[in-house]
């Protein structure tokens, strides 16, 4: 079974802090994704990566960056946290993109920025 592990379940940070959200997958998947989930807005794609050291912007990349130094690990970075970044963050991975490769999600990190 695919396992996607997010390092923190809950985080509370102050405005202006640099925040790192870590995600590790154990199935040698090519693709990794970061989403945020907000009520009524569903899941919105922040960044994704097709390969090591490769990254692509999603629909809402502003205020975020990512790092993929190893295949199994994909980090989301908030350079200077703001209150509008309070949200549930979900990491996902897939073997490949497209219809035959469903996303496998981690359990999420609920980030509160005060």
């Amino acid at each position: 079974d695919v396992k996607v592990t997010q390092s923190s379940r809950y985080l509370v940070k102050r405005t202006g802090e640099k925040v790192f959200l870590e995600c590790v997958q154990d199935m040698d998947h090519e693709n990794m994704f970061w989403y945020r989930q907000d009520p009524g807005l569903g899941l919105r794609l922040i960044y994704f990566s097709y390969d090591v050291k490769m990254k692509e912007k999603g629909d809402i990349p502003e205020g975020y960056s990512v790092s993929r130094e190893k295949k199994e690990r994909f980090s989301l970075i908030l350079e200077s946290a703001s209150t509008n970044q309070t949200s549930m963050y979900l990491c996902a991975s897939s073997q490949r993109t497209g219809r035959n490769s469903p996303l496998h999600f981690g359990n999420g990190t609920r980030l509160t920025v005060t």
């Binding site: 807005l41 979900l90 996902a92 993109t97 497209g98 999600f105 359990n107």
Partner: protein, 113 residues
Amino acid sequence: DQQVKQNSPSLSVQEGRISILNCDYTNSMFDYFLWYKKYPAEGPTFLISISSIKDKNEDGRFTVFLNKSAKHLSLHIVPSQPGDSAVYFCASLNNNAGNMLTFGGGTRLMVKP
């Protein structure tokens, strides 16, 4: 503007009855559709999908219907069980645009015993 919309934020159904969750999309380039289910404190899990060349796909108690002309899909759960209580997200895929999923806002289903 949201390209995938789930207009009902919540739905309450009695155990044993049918649950019908609806989803509308605006992008005619979407050609594959998925439903994900999310329990509290867990990530979404894939439930069922349908290609645009079909109008129905069934998997046990779950059936997804696609009406391309109306740009509408629905998920039917029959019979509904209390364990089906969760948030359901529909998602759409555009094969010609990097195969990235676009998600709807979700519908919270509550199945009462």
